[in-house]
Symmetry: C2
Subunit: 588 residues, 2 copies
């Protein structure tokens, strides 16, 4: 249906606007700084800092870790909580979405219906002796890249072929992949042993629900299915009206064959997914979203090639939000498998006259199949609109037609004067249809990682003999909003520091207090590396200085004002330039 | 160590204070109302309302559901988010806890070390023909209760015995359970088939990590292990200082044999756990927690019999927080299995002279075991302090002693003049020890369910012919903070309603707008049942009325003030009685 498709495209464009608006707000303060460094060196610097300051930790590290599993340490947890709170505010609250929270453990029948049991696979090859598993496309990709890097020894023809393989890699069938691996003689990278033929490996973690062992289940590979199976209740909750959107934040699991790319390709991750349920034929609610269309002009061109929202990182452009037009696929699948209709209703203002099929053929029923109980029901079931119309044509042309009556297992002859076949006009009061679904799905872990890279920079220390790390997190997202430093170790200053801490807690502002005797420069550097945007230094009992992380500018503020000032600039009610205009500048 | 134990008890008492303070704040507005109803009828009324208004939904309902799995619908999600935000503020932020976020998927080695692989079991019996599984203790409990209910036919002796069994049920061994089931002739409740002997069933969901099938894993049964394996990094993050507390909120999984009690006994649930790492010999940080000791007098008596924080519900008293003194069990277990020391250090202000064992016996080493390489090391390893001191006594009394030298596999005779056994004095600069752990663990789902029961009441409708349901949620926890109702369908009022909605969104206040033509009484009733504390009714273009849910009192407020007023009373900055004093009362 062309109008349905066109409509989906329009909705996707609007959603892309909203998503980019979200990133625009997140990234306002961000600027990608990789100037004089290679991407690898830059990434190493970021990752070292992240791991040393416990933004993340390889899970189960003391046992050697598990590939593809990471913990968030204290500052990482705070950043994640900030992003999720902002996401909830930006999408769920501002757009009145219906949030749900479903279990990770999912029975097989649900994921069988959704197609994941049969189709959620990657192609795998096995080292035939060692048993190690590899992703078939990864090995082919690595081989082609390595060959191309060897450079001069390659013929132009060969190079062109390898580049072609890299371009079409994602579209190769199992047979084509197998053929290429054989043709190039690719072996297991660690042992050089021969490899098995590629075969599909299901990426879902399997488990068993209950004690009997007879109820297989999986850890959900996406949160979306939990929303789809609740469609009926959510539609009711929304007053039986379309459009509406449902959202879910939660863990998803994919048992990757060989995870790479650090924090970007993991086996367990937080997804934030939205399912927009819309009537494919109704344009009315465009106006409900239009208030977000301020970027519409620029956005149209993204829509053409940019169904995914991508962010640039040291790994290149990576998908952080996938916007999928799932049409009615999932609702149809679950309705078929569960037997529960998952449909929406459009009540007409006035009943409409509609031609319905199959045609009503009362004389026909009476005359021919009178001996058979429930006869015309059976007949009308057996005979669709197309067959009935064919019979009508035959009757009109030949004067009679043959009909196989299955309940009698007998062919009977129908004469023209026995029946009257015509489409019946019926009054209908409503339209019943399966809603279309448009889904923006956010990979929260990836968004957090990109935030880290985009926020990271280094600058020389005061004496210039080392490079200091800084995360320039916007205050909204910073894991810790400010620090409190008594300038020197002294009871009076510590009392003031305690008083300020108490006010910060009352305002709900996270802070770090450091009463060690370390030099103030050292204490600033320690917390710059955690991305703390403001530092309060207690250097008198009546007023303190507040330092901004990136500009290193300082202002002087009264002790009893400072907590509310930090709150206002953290909440975005005021900005650092505002404060510079209001408070005396302090030069140390 | 008596001081260690005493110390743990003291810390637990303090933590119980903090936990009860948390509930006190949550429950301030609550009052358990079951007056004239049976518990079962009351529960049915609550659960019906919860399910009809989508506070929760049986998971995968269209497929018939899965026992022990529930979804949170939109208002349930909002309540959960509110409780978690409050929990984070009350514990993590105010007590500067280190939050972590670890995966649910956990490799076997971790849960083997923690003892869960071997010991996290319930005793199960199987219907020998049908294969259905039951918890052995449940069947015995049901049997005893049923017998006791039969009443008059029972001898006093028999009744006493059954009551005794019910009392000791939790302490019965596998053999004792088996014997009782046989003695009473208990059969499968559904089929009356004979039952298997009880056997342990592990309650963890099992899965496999990675594609090879050779790395077994489990879904974590508690979040605590993720904290323990990170102890070393968290201790470092805390500046290598004790005490500190780490916290984690996340999903936990228990594959219950036959879940009962609706929302209270589920297979997947949100836990909020805290691990306090403390030095068992140091009392210094008691003062850090003392600011929460304002309930200390009342609390002491709970500490005696109330290690678990329990809440009364229609199911009786149920555990919502478990406070466990885990001592050094987990850290020892993970250190042993991983080989990574998980210890804390106490630096002495000045080096201390300490008698160390085993004693140094240099002459002894030289004279007797000179032929053996690394001899004295082996000797001192073979001989503990006790043995060395026994040898010293023997030598002093007898003039000689026998010694088996294992590396020579030979017994040698040691003479008094060959050796000098004495304890050596060493200067030590620090003490190395394994911290003790005190853990308060919150079952968030249970707390939410109790909140529902405690908040629920019914009251007659205006015309008295039906009972209306109300949830008296405190504004802080209410899923939706206010409603906006234009009194009649009219464009001017709808404009005002939109303007108010916009201000509410800007303040981050969740609301529901209802522009249906339903009577205002009906609209109030609909949202009372969702626990919405305030209703704004637009009945003019300059001012509106605000109605409080429980008192049904109304005040009149200017249109441009109303959003900030709702925010102040939702945030707890002002209370409804404050508003009654400030704004004119409206009587409809």
């Amino acid at each position: 249906m062309e109008t349905g498709k066109l409509r989906a495209v329009k909705i996707i464009i609007i959603i892309i606007n909203v998503v980019f608006n979200f990133f625009f707000l997140l990234c306002l303060y961000l600027d990608f700084t990789q100037e004089s460094q290679t991407r690898e060196a830059f990434r190493q610097a970021v990752v070292n800092t992240l791991e040393r300051r416990l933004f993340y930790i390889p899970s189960f590290k003391i046992y050697g870790g598990v590939t593809g599993l990471y913990d968030y340490g204290p500052p990482g947890c705070a950043v994640k909580a900030n992003i999720l709170a902002f996401w909830r505010k930006h999408f769920v609250l501002e757009e009145n979405m219906l949030e749900v929270d479903c279990p990770c453990v999912t029975p097989e029948i649900v994921l069988k219906a959704s197609g994941h049991v049969d189709k959620f696979t990657d192609l795998m090859v096995k080292d035939e002796k060692a048993g190690t598993c590899y992703r078939a496309d990864h090995l082919l990709k690595d081989f082609c890249k390595d060959e191309l890097e060897k450079g001069p020894n390659l013929s132009a023809e060969k190079a062109a072929e390898l580049r072609h393989v890299l371009n079409v890699l994602d579209n190769l069938s199992m047979e084509e992949l197998s053929a290429k691996i054989k043709e190039y003689g690719i072996t297991a990278p660690d042992t050089k042993n021969t490899l098995s033929d590629p075969y599909p490996f299901n990426l879902m973690f399997q488990t068993s629900i209950g004690p009997s062992g007879s109820s297989p289940g999986y850890l959900r590979p996406e949160t979306a299915q939990g929303i789809f199976v609740n469609f009926k209740d959510l539609y009711y909750y929304n007053g039986n009206k379309l459009p509406f959107a449902a959202a879910q934040i939660g863990q998803a699991f994919r048992n990757e064959i060989s995870p790479r790319q650090g924090l970007l390709r993991v086996r367990e991750f937080t997804l934030a997914e939205i399912e927009h349920f819309v009537d494919p034929e109704d344009k009315a609610h465009l106006s409900r979203l239009r208030f977000r269309q301020h970027l519409a002009n620029e956005m149209a061109h993204y829509a053409a090639d940019c169904w995914d929202a991508e962010i640039e990182s040291s790994y290149g452009w990576i998908e952080c939000v996938g916007i999928a037009d799932r049409s009615a696929y999932d609702l149809h699948a679950h309705a078929d498998k569960s037997g529960v209709p998952l449909v929406a209703y459009e009540k007409f203002p006035e009943p409409r006259e509609i031609e319905v099929s199959p045609p009503s053929i009362p004389q026909f029923t009476k005359l021919v199949i009178a001996p058979v109980k429930r006869s015309w029901v059976l007949l009308s079931k057996a005979m669709g609109e197309k067959e009935a119309m064919e019979m009508k044509t035959t009757l009109e042309a030949m004067g009679e037609a043959e009909l196989h009556v299955c309940t009698l297992d007998k062919v009977v002859t129908i004469k023209n004067n026995m029946v009257a076949i015509s489409k019946e006009k019926k009054k209908e009061h409503q339209r019943v249809f399966t809603p279309s679904v448009i889904e923006p799905s956010f990979g929260i872990g990836r968004i957090i990682y990109c935030l880290y890279e985009h926020s990271f920079y280094t600058r020389p220390s005061k004496d210039g003999d080392e490079q200091l790390n800084v995360f320039r997190f916007p205050p909204l997202l910073a894991p810790i909003k400010c620090t409190v430093f008594p300038l020197v170790q002294n009871q009076q200053y510590e009392e003031v520091a305690k008083q300020i801490s108490k006010s910060l807690t009352a305002f709900g502002i996270s802070y770090k207090i450091d009463i060690t005797g370390a030099s103030i420069g050292k204490r600033y550097a320690r917390t710059d590396e955690l991305g703390v945007p403001f530092a309060i230094t207690v250097d008198s009992t009546s007023s303190v200085t507040v330092r901004e992380r990136d500009s290193k500018q300082q202002i002087r503020v009264n002790v009893d004002e400072v907590a509310s000032l930090v709150k206002s600039v953290t909440d975005g009610v005021s900005t650092w330039p505002d404060l510079l205009r209001t408070y005396p500048i302090h030069s140390s």
